[in-house]
Structure formats: C-alpha cells, structure tokens
Amino acid sequence: MYGSWANRLLLVPATVWLLVMLVLPLLVVIIFSFGERGTAGGYVPAFTLEQYANLSARFTAFKNTLLLAPTGTFLCLLVAYPLAYFLAVKVHPKWKTLLLVMIIVPFWTSILIRTYAWIFILGGQGLPKVLGFLGIEGVRLINTPTAVLIGIVYAYLPLMVFPVYVSLEKLDKRLLEAASDLGSSPIEAFRNVTLPLSIPGVATGCMLVFILLMGEFLIPALLGGGKVFFIGNALVDLFLQSRNWAYGSAVAATLVIIMLVTVSIYMKLVVRNQQ
C-alpha cells in the first residue's frame, strides 16, 4: 500500500535532496529579495519592496529573453522535427542505433568547449571567410543575435530531437496504411495522423528547451560578445560584478514567477489540445 513505511522510505532521498538543494535556497532568494544592498555590495537585512519596485531597470533583459527563448525553441523544433521523423520513420533499423548515438556524442564534451569552438567558426576567420570566397562579402556573424541563435539551436537540438523521436517511433504504422487505403495522400496522412500523434513529443521537447533557454547565459555571453543580454546575464552581473544581492534576488524571484505562469499556461493549452 502507499501508506506503508517502506514505500514512504522510497521518497526520503528525493525529499531531502529537494528540501536542501531547492526549497531552502529558494527561501534564501525570497528573503534576500526584500533586503537592501550594502554600501560595498552584498546583502543587508531589511524589509522593503524597493527591489521589486525597481524591476523595470531590467525590462530590456526580460524582453530579450522572452523574445529569444521562444524564437530559439521554435528554430530548434524546425530543425529537429524533420531529423526526428527521418530517424523514426525513414531510416533502416540497423542504422538507427548508430545515428542516435551520433546525436548524443557531442554531449560527451562540455557545452562550454563546444560553444567556444563556435566563436572561431562564426568569427572573421571562419564561416564569413568561407562565404567571402564564394563571393558573399562583409558578413558579420560573431557577437550578433544571429550568432546566439545559431549557438542555441546547436546546443539544444538533441533535447528536442529525442522526445519527438520517441513519439514518432511509437507511431503505429498500420494507421498510415489505413489512411492510405482510405484515400489520403501521403501529405494528408502526415497532417491527419503523424503530426497529431507526435504532438506530445513536440510539447515535451519545446518545454525542455524553453525552460532551459529562459535561464541561459553562457551562449549569449560567448557568442553575443557581451552585447546580447539575457536575464541570465543580468543575474550573473548582479551577483558576480555589481554585488547587488538583494536586487539580484528580486530579479531571480521574478524570473521564477514568469516561468511558472508561462509553463502553467502552456501545459493547460497542451492538455486541452489532447483531450
């Protein structure tokens, strides 16, 4: 039974972990967000709403994040869906494992090092030079929002491919045969059968990528040259440069609230669509 002590014991490690590593730190952030910055930085206990009143000072950073996170998620989906479809439906089974492993292989190297490599690929001596040989002169990629988006799609692609792949893999091929027998063209069969059945995978993939993108700071910092400023970058600066812990906590708490709201709305929409 659920109530037996042995079953409850199963929950102990996760509960302790979440309590110490998530709930307590989150409480600290909330408490700090009502405090004040010390003269030389840091945190001075207080109870004030001043930090929240000042949130508009990071409006642009919130706006950049709320524009680039959905854009990045959508681009990821555009690239990942055909790939997942190819892997799940078109590839001969004997190649499948190999191709899936090849998608995972880059994960064996740190994201930091892989993003660093993109600095050279997108820099003046990389891709723009190749384009120059082809007659397309004067292309600037590094330190632009485009570079950040390229880095994002590259880094998050596997997170999108796998959920979509799994949902397409489970697809009952007999449904497609039935659609064909009933006179559907392949395109109609895709639209009426494959696509709707893959929505759960798409929804999961989008959520994974979107949530992680909302907190992203590494890719904009490295590929945006400090000019593309996400809320993650604002937080890094508030804690690691200007040492404004109180304000940084208020910004972080707001980000958590924005995510909660966005994700709840999103989940509602997805669940309703599936009923």
């Binding site: 030389a40 930085g41 001596q125 590494l218 400090g226 000019k227 400023f229 200007s242």
Partner: protein, 387 residues
C-alpha cells in the same frame, strides 16, 4: 608492445599539461570567468592529491599548494615552476576579469585563495569589509618599503597598517591597429569614441568593467574618470548607448580578436598593449590626452587563506628583485621597485608604452574606492549592456 609503451600520459607530463591549462592564454581567462571552471580546477586538484608533485627539497614545510587569484597574462610561468621546485608547493592560478568579480568572490566567502592581486582603489573596501588581513611583514623579507615609489605603494597602507604590498603599476589606454587608420595617429579619447561611430564601426571593443568603460566615456566630455555626478554620468550613458551598435564586443578579453583581425581597437591595459605591440608593431598603445586611469596592483592575503604560510612564501618569492625582473620581462607591466628596475634592460625602462611621457601621465587619475562601489555606475553599465 613493451610495457613502457602501454603507459598512458605520465604523471609529470600530465602535471605540465595541467599547469599549461591553468596559466596559458587570455582566452582561458574568459573561460574561467564565465564558468567558474577555475574553481572546478582548484576543486579537482584538491580532491586528487596524487596529481600534485611531491615535495623536492623544501626549506620549510609550507604545504603542497598555494592558490593565487590574479589577472590574465600577469606572471612568468617559469617563476611558478621555480617556486614549486624550491618549496614543493604547486601554484594554482585563478584568473579574473575585474576587481568587481574578485570582490564579489571574497564577499560570498569560501574563495579558497591564499594570495590575490587587488588594485589600489579596492584596498580600503577590503579592509572595511574585514576581508583581508594586516600583512605579517616579517614573513615578506623581500618587501623593502624604501625601495618602492610611494605613488604606487601608498594604497597598500590603510590607517598606518600595511595590508598589501605593491606588484605592478600601469595605465589604462587603448590599443589601435594603425593599418586601418590610414597612417593617422590617434591621441585622444574623443577620437576613440568618434572613430568607433564612423570608420571603425563594428571593430571596437570596450571592457566589461564599469570603472574603465564609464570612466573613459566620461573623458569624452572632459569629466573626471571617477565622476559619480548624475548629470555627467547621464552624458556618458548617452554616448555609450549611441556607440553600442558600433561595438565589436563588450569584453575585457580583447587580445584574441585584436590578433586575428576581427577587432581593430580596444580599451587596453599597459601590459596587453606591450604584448600586442611586441608581436604586431602596427598595434599602437595610446593614452588619451584628456587623461584616464593610472593604477597600481598589490599582493594581499585574504582572511580565510587556507594555505597562509605558502601564500606569504609566494609573495616573498615574487618580490625577490631577480624573480620580479623576470616577471616584468614576461608581462610588460612596470614595477615601482627600484631594486628590480636596476636589473631590467635600458630599452624596457625607456619604453614609451610602459613609461609614457610626463605630460600624459600628469593627466591621469587613480581610480577611487567610491567609483568602484557606486551603485549608479553599476546600473548604468547594466543599461548599456542590455540596450
């Protein structure tokens, strides 16, 4: 195959590689700053003591390691190897991009540093926040106060107590690739900002550091580098926001893009200017006629230093004039120590990058403690970066 060939990378080789990784290029500084990989390296070193070299002929027992937080391209790696040879203590280096970052780390606690390199204007803050200890000068025999030019050693003494001993001094100017100016020599901050908006669009870098980036924007209008006056800061902000679309990057890691040709001009510290000019003579180091920053760096010991004795031993070692002279030859920053200068070649002591003309020096200001900790300047930089 013989057994020998089956051996993986030797311990010695691994240590060499690890140390190279720990010291090497500027690029890595950014790496470390952005990620905290520096900390990861320190943790790894601490967790795997077998990786550390055994003591060879230690004079006194100072432990097997010392952790130094410093700036990029600011030491001669050979000196660290010598220190390890002499004492058995391996030097772990954490590299930083700004004094704000260093202060943030120490304020957060548990930095694990034994020695770090604060700049003149931060020391009173560290003392006020109770983060550094009064130096035990009996452990730093090589510090001979009278040998140092007081302009660059005064800031180490707060209320009559010595908290920090001088490392190097220098200036903050800019470096420009004259290949792209059509032979024109730039001489002012006004030209720096104006050319960025026109001929150099997309090619200029400014520091990711409020003190220098805002300070040098203030110089465009002839205001003080240290100004915290709201109207003057508003002018500087207007200029920065106007210039931002024309910038290549906002990043203190400027050597790599300048070297590969992506960037043509950047705010720059003395030693980076010297290093770039040595390798690429077209790279000219300029001090704005309007003024700008002159600074001095110091060695200090954090209150929490876990290998305190080793920290003192390292400071003493690095202040040995013979060792210090090798440092200068490697990094190109001047020292305030007359004993070290006696050992340096004449060309270096007359080098206009290290020792600019008096009238240029006279216009420079030392950064102030209030400039670093001013919350309005921090917010201004955040608005500039997110604009």
């Amino acid at each position: 195959m013989s057994k020998k060939n089956d051996q993986p990378i030797s311990r010695k080789k691994f240590m060499q590689e690890l140390r190279r990784y720990e010291r090497g290029s500027v690029t890595r500084r950014h790496f470390l700053g952005v990620t905290g990989l520096g900390v990861a390296t320190a943790v790894m070193g601490a967790a795997v003591p077998g990786l550390l070299p055994r003591k060879s002929w230690a004079a006194t027992d100072i432990g097997d390691r010392v952790i130094l937080a410093t700036w990029p391209n600011y030491h001669d790696p050979a000196n660290f190897e010598k220190f390890t040879e002499m004492t058995g203590a391996h030097v772990q280096v954490n590299v930083f991009g700004s004094n704000e970052e260093m202060l943030a780390k120490l304020q957060a606690g548990g930095s694990g540093w034994d020695v770090f390199v604060p700049t003149n204007y931060t020391i009173t803050t560290y003392v006020g926040e109770d983060l550094i200890e009064p130096l035990e000068l009996s452990k730093i025999n090589n510090f001979e106060a009278s040998a140092f030019d007081p302009r660059f050693s005064d800031a180490g003494t707060v209320n009559g107590t010595v908290y920090a001993v001088p490392k190097n001094w220098g200036t903050t100017g800019y470096v420009v690739n004259t290949k792209h100016t059509g032979g024109k020599q730039l001489t002012t901050w006004k030209e720096f900002w104006d050319i960025t908006k026109t001929d150099f669009t997309g090619r200029t870098m400014v520091h990711d550091y409020q003190l220098t980036t805002i300070g040098n924007a203030l110089k465009y209008f002839g205001y003080s580098f240290n100004s915290v006056d709201p109207n003057e800061l508003a002018d500087a902000e207007k200029l920065l926001i106007e210039v931002k679309p024309h910038l290549y990057a906002i990043n203190s890691d400027y050597q790599p893009p300048l070297r590969n040709g992506d960037a043509w001009m950047s705010m720059c510290w003395t030693g980076d200017g010297k290093q770039l000019n040595t390798d690429m003579p077209e790279m000219q180091y300029v001090l704005g006629k309007e003024g700008g920053e002159i600074w001095s760096d110091y060695y200090a010991v954090p209150k929490s230093a876990p290998h305190r004795d080793a920290g003192y031993a390292l400071i003493d070692f690095l202040l040995d004039p013979a060792v210090n002279a090798k440092e200068v030859l490697a990094h190109g920053y001047p020292v305030a120590d007359s004993r070290t200068n006696e050992l340096l070649p004449k060309e270096l002591l007359e080098d206009p990058i290290l020792y600019p003309a008096q009238e240029l020096l006279d216009a420079l200001e030392f950064g102030a403690a209030a400039t670093l900790t001013d919350p309005n300047r921090a917010e201004l930089l955040a608005r500039f970066k997110s604009a």
